[in-house]
Symmetry: C2
Amino acid sequence: MSKQPTPLTVLDAETPCCPPLAQRRVPAETAAVLAPAFKALGDPVRLQLMSMIASAEGGEACVCDLTPAFDLSGPTISHHLRTLREAGLVDAERRGTWVYYRARPGVLRQLAALLTVEPAGVA
Amino acid sequence: MSKQPTPLTVLDAETPCCPPLAQRRVPAETAAVLAPAFKALGDPVRLQLMSMIASAEGGEACVCDLTPAFDLSGPTISHHLRTLREAGLVDAERRGTWVYYRARPGVLRQLAALLTVEPAGVA
DNA sequence: TCTCTGCTTAGACGGACGTCAAGACAGGCT
DNA sequence: AGCCTGTCTTGACGTCCGTCTAAGCAGAGA
């Protein structure tokens, strides 16, 4: 959006995707990059926001639809959305009056791959 | 271990497994149950611990092997392990002198399923 | 241009988190 | 029994997080 500080090493959808957590020990640098994404999902409000955005038709959701779904002030929702944005989980775009948020499926896929566990007894 | 307070609604490996986050809006109660698990993974140290435990041969890892892998005090590692335990991600068992931690693959599978995104264009 | 609506930023406050040092407990060895 | 080793718990301290109110900015419409 307006500012793009993001000096932090953020998740990149291009990264060739992480080997499963249960297969190889996650190195410290990888953990440092991935942990913030899990942390961002570690709040009930943000988990619901992420789901509402990712499951929205057209792949995007308007803040004006997200905010009234919670008993929280507008700024608080905005803060959570910023957290998701800085974690690389969503993208924001202003179109006219409203701001739309869109999920970044590549990052979600990476996280899912990391947590994948082979169904018992696969070499 | 000795104490088993766990009054919190914790992840149960029996739960029939969550529909993908991007498919249906996660209800508030589900979010309240799952968010702590993601939060537990939202720390680089715990993410590495989880990986070391899950990828250990025999499916379990001794604290005596985990602690020296970090530049942190024993109590701090113990604290992180307790967090993982209370999030339902690992189980602990004392055998003789040492304590062994074991991953709970069912819970990991649930989290992975929640994050699963269909490969673009699946109804 | 003026104003109105929608969203974000700034500042503040209470509570939770990550870390450590010190003490307590459990089990094995002499 | 007594000590030693290994791990967990307790208490404390500084920092980060979630929330709010108030103020700022961006478009749209009159």
